[in-house]
Symmetry: C2
């Protein structure tokens, strides 16, 4: 397995959307709305504190995640790196690709000088909890969400 | 009580740092390192997706929080608003100021068109959990952190 990582390009957006929503009906709906989502992609791409990353194997996009570097006054002014939208394409799961992705994300955060990496994961995803714990993360916080 | 809200200025940084760390020794240490933290302040201030807010009463800074607007491809490309570094100055606690702050934050996120407001809070802060639940937040996620 030779997985490589790079910043996403516009032509990766359909593959990323398919991973973000495995449900084929929702995935199709998102693609119909492609123009707005290209604007969202361009916003991420232009923001120096956001990086949308894809994992690639043999020229195929097989995973994705987004890093946001949040500046702050705590921790002596070090940024915190937040990980969102972590997905591995269904046929490539259970092969250690998620681990490679998160190790890459942690290295990227360290290289940038971040003091902390953080993420939230649904309480029902027990496998994900074990996975993040095995990478050294600790579940110290409650993650609250409010839909608008 | 007439609390008002505004974007923080450079001269608010000492008051914000004092609230971020109630422990007087750590607070003093942060102020010694004021130059680096002014650079961190300037970074937040210049970033169009970060807003450091202060709550004011009678010209006195009595509370603070930071909003980060995270762009993404999920939820039809709507930003998510993240709340960090929520503090009310010790003498002003238990007067409903935190509630006013979070209501203001939710309104700000809605006005900007965000699809979601999210935050994490330490698992030991049971009062905070009840507080956020009373504002409509649901604790659906585990919050994982990894210090670098």
């Amino acid at each position: 397995m030779s997985v490589s990582f790079r910043t996403a390009r516009r032509d990766d957006v359909p593959a990323i959307l398919a991973m973000l929503d495995d449900d084929p009906i929702s995935a199709a709906r998102e693609q119909v709305e492609g123009i707005d989502l290209m604007a969202a992609f361009d916003t991420i791409d232009a923001d120096p504190r956001n990086e949308l990353i894809v994992a690639e194997e043999d020229g195929q996009v097989i995973g994705t995640f987004q890093l946001t570097f949040i500046p702050g006054l705590s921790r002596r002014g070090a940024e915190r790196a937040q990980v969102e939208a972590v997905r591995v394409a269904v046929p490539y799961r259970n092969r250690g690709i998620g681990r490679r992705m998160m190790e890459w994300a942690i290295d990227r955060a360290r290289e940038r000088g971040c003091g902390l990496v953080q993420l939230t994961t649904d309480k029902a995803r027990h496998n994900a909890h074990r996975f993040y714990a095995s990478l050294g993360f600790t579940p110290t916080h409650e993650g609250f969400k409010l839909r608008l």
